[in-house]
Symmetry: C2
Subunit: 104 residues, 2 copies
Amino acid sequence: MDADKVFRALADPTRRKLLDRLYARNGQSLGELCEDLEMARQSATQHLGILEEANLVSTVRRGREKLHFINPVSLHDVYERWVRKFERGRLGLLHDLKKQLEGE
Amino acid sequence: MDADKVFRALADPTRRKLLDRLYARNGQSLGELCEDLEMARQSATQHLGILEEANLVSTVRRGREKLHFINPVSLHDVYERWVRKFERGRLGLLHDLKKQLEGE
DNA sequence: TTGACATGCAGGTATCTACCTGCCAAATTT
DNA sequence: AAATTTGGCAGGTAGATACCTGCATGTCAA
């Protein structure tokens, strides 16, 4: 897994919106995904390319269409490596912060 | 919570490194955090500013030093809004993908 | 086979980002 | 008080990023 690609891919609101829309209905074509994005098709293509590069989305061609599917593997890896770690230490970290804000 | 700020903050490898270093030892000063970052102090200041803007780091001044603490609240919010959602649907999403790769 | 439809490719531009250098202010130490 | 340490502020630059337009290719349907 390339954590950098995944984080960078998630850093853009349009791409997060695309993931949300795919979550709502998986397997949409490029045209469908573009519909209410308020940007040119080319821009959406670029965004989807970045999501694909990060392995957050996988595609399948069907005739002249390209169908997009969420690939949850990368996201799960990020969770394992990043979120769980901080989640485990969460209460301790909050304690450090609170203690310091109170003036030691 | 401003999801956009949080994701953008996490998108840079230097900033993720800073979070890791703070996780290893919470409450470090700017100087300490700079030590083996191989970049000018000013650059690190900027990165820490972005982490602070995103509420991923909180700071306390002590004399001429500025101490940095991980603030796990934003990260937890991102987890709730983004990771858990996809985590819940994970097996279903994988199924969609697999089915399609096999040709329906 | 011809026209309509879905997507790909090339390139161009304005803004954002991650660095830098140089100088300044405040707190501590001697 | 003078020197040192710690951090802040201003501004400048190269490259990345997020858009765009225009044209080409492949697929389906009439």
